[in-house]
């Protein structure tokens, strides 16, 4: 699980774009996709789920 030493030149995709970028690297290289993940996951699992549970509490009579 260790990287080979790849300098910036070695780590760069080939200029001809014929070197396929691995899907995981494509995800990690897209900050706006990461932004979506980073906002959507806590928004759904924490904020929205939490508010829905509170909203479902019956009102006291």
């Amino acid at each position: 699980m260790v990287d080979q030493d790849n300098s910036p030149q070695q780590g760069a995709p080939a200029d001809g774009d014929d070197e396929r970028v691995p899907p995981m690297q494509a995800i990690l290289d897209n900050p706006f996709l990461l932004l979506f993940i980073g906002v959507a996951v806590p928004a759904v699992f924490y904020t929205i789920w939490g508010i829905m549970e509170i909203a479902a509490i019956p009102i006291a009579k």
Partner: protein, 565 residues
């Protein structure tokens, strides 16, 4: 193609420094340290009040000081400094111009006005609602307005950071993926967006409530949404200070991460799962199901804990690998003994790694376990935990990198070299003591925020064990120690910036302050490509044994206070 822009080439690192970014880094860092100084002094007053033998402030001023301490340290100091880090990690490390510098200055102005407005509101005495500002306690409208302005400014600054990434990508100022330190800053920026959005969702209606336009704010909903701001803001710190660890390790000993890919994956886990740790503040709230609580504080957050453990192994491992490559190969810990302990950037960083892991990290997992949380929920243990993360972890890491920012960005030599050498140790020992003693007192039940632990004016008396009083006294002593460390830091920074000798290009050759090639390392790629790290393996083993023992000791403790038979 890269466009031309006003810049200088740093003679120490060889990196292009965009002039606009440089000015904004300076401005944000200076203001951050001003708020650290203000917030730190309020913190000393809080600690001296909670020291039963001193008990320096009356109740109203105690809660005022506690509010100011929380806001100035947990919000203003940290986020101003993090914005400086974002500009460094984008424009400087990617060798590009800063996007929309006018918006960056607008962001700075909004943040400054907001922070000042918040402080004024607190000092006027009508907004002693503490950092959490739980409704139905109501602060003055300009307290909320200040926080909103600050948040808007911070959000603009974060998008200037994202814009700079786009500029760098379009102008092809770097090749391949962005450097790891910049990727860590991306993680921090993303968490900041969620954090600020949560703040806006709850603080805007709360502001409208404070001016009478809204009748009431539901207390449970407030707590859920507010903690999306309150705890996630501290998760920005985690991502940012881990990025700072990698940066300092690269600049001081020339280390690369053990595996860049694995470190990036760990940051991805932060992006997805770190903010939901907010739920551990709600573990005793009625109305929220166990499924919600356990998913958010256990199952998912363990992925974020895994990420922290990866970084916690990768950073010392990278340092060991680099030190061994540099010739320090003797024994298991020869690399550690021969590390640059006299360099405050290195010592501060390493202390931050160790204390964040052992103190803040382990206690965080214990607090995040629903059953164990009942042992210390809303006690001083919580405060001890986050002083382990925010003070001993983040603040110490940010102090450490400041020792590099002054010569590299401000182009000034550090003054008071002997003070520089000792300051991280003093502050580190002080904050370590504060964290441990507050956690100890919290385990004995001492409440998180009560002004008077003797309950002298209460109708029903209650006595904490004598050990709790001893711990709170010792906590005061360690707080004084941390304050001395903090004052030394502020004196060094202000003195160096105002009166430090100008650092010219010749100084980069005659008195280098970074490891040779450190500039290329921090902006480049690659890993150390070795796992022959006996010292790190030993340290990590000690960590895991401590972790497991402490975790199960707490279960044992729980079984004793909560007998089922």
């Amino acid at each position: 193609m890269a466009t031309t822009f006003a810049h200088r080439v740093c003679p120490d690192t060889g990196l292009k420094v965009c002039r606009n970014a440089e000015a904004l880094i300076k401005a944000n860092a200076v203001v951050a340290i001003v708020f650290l100084a203000i917030g730190g002094l309020f913190g000393l007053l809080v600690a001296l009040t909670r020291w039963p033998a001193v008990h320096i402030l009356p109740a109203d001023l105690f809660y005022l000081a506690l509010t100011a301490h929380g806001a100035d340290i947990l919000i203003f100091w940290i986020i101003f400094f993090e914005i400086a880090i974002l500009y460094f990690a984008s424009a400087v490390l990617l060798n590009c111009r800063l996007a929309t510098p006018r918006f960056a200055w607008l962001a700075f102005a909004l943040m400054l006005v907001g922070a000042l407005m918040g402080n004024v509101a607190v000092l006027q005495g009508e907004s002693s609602v503490m950092f959490t500002s739980y409704v139905p306690m109501q602060a003055a409208p300009h307290f909320y307005l200040g926080l909103i302005l600050f948040a808007v400014g911070a959000l603009i600054a974060v998008f200037v950071f994202f814009g700079t990434l786009v500029v760098a990508h379009q102008e092809k100022t770097y090749e391949g993926s962005i450097p790891l330190v910049t990727f860590g800053a991306v993680a921090a920026a993303i968490i900041a967006v969620y954090t600020i959005a949560s703040g806006a969702i709850i603080l805007i209606p709360t502001f409208l409530w404070s001016v009478g336009l809204i009748g009431e704010i539901d207390t449970l909903t407030y707590r859920v949404v507010w903690w999306g701001l309150g705890h996630s803001s501290q998760q920005i710190n985690v991502a940012a200070h881990v990025a700072v660890w990698y940066a300092i390790a690269a600049l001081t000993v020339g280390s690369k991460p053990l595996s860049e890919k694995v470190s990036r994956m760990a940051f991805l886990l932060y992006i997805a799962f770190l903010p939901i740790a907010s739920a551990h503040h709600l573990l005793t709230d009625p109305g929220l199901s166990s499924e919600f609580k356990i998913f958010n504080t256990s199952y998912a957050i363990y992925l974020a804990v895994l990420a922290s453990m990866i970084h916690g192994m990768s950073v010392p491992g990278a340092i060991e690998a680099a030190q061994r490559r540099n010739g320090f190969t003797q024994g298991v810990f020869g690399w550690l003994r021969n590390a640059p302990w006299g360099n405050p950037a290195f010592s501060g960083m390493f202390l931050s790694v160790v204390m964040f892991g052992f103190v803040g990290g382990i206690s965080g997992v214990v607090l995040g376990t629903e059953q164990l949380n009942l042992l210390m929920h809303n006690t001083l243990y919580v405060t001890g935990h986050f002083h382990g993360t925010v003070a001993a972890g983040t603040t110490l890491a940010f102090m450490a990198i400041t020792y590099l920012v002054i010569p590299l960005i401000f182009r000034r030599e550090l003054i008071l070299k002997r003070w520089c050498k000792w300051q991280p140790y003093l502050f580190g020992i002080g904050t370590f003591g504060i964290s441990m003693l507050m956690m100890g007192a919290g385990t004995l039940g001492v409440s998180r925020r009560h002004w008077d632990m003797t309950f002298s004016d209460a109708t029903l008396s209650f006595d904490y064990p004598p050990a709790a009083f001893l711990m709170m006294g010792l906590n005061g002593i360690f707080a004084v120690l941390a304050t001395i460390g903090g004052i030394m830091f502020v004196v060094i920074v202000v003195g160096s910036v105002l009166a430090g000798k100008s650092r010219d290009a010749e100084a980069a050759k005659t008195s280098p302050i970074i490891f040779q090639g450190g500039g290329a390392t921090i902006a480049g790629h690659g890993g150390e490509a070795t796992l022959k790290l006996p010292g790190t393996v030993t340290l990590v083993t000690v960590f895991f044994i401590s972790f497991v023992l402490y975790y199960f000791v707490n279960w044992k403790f729980l079984s004793e206070v909560w007998p089922l038979s």
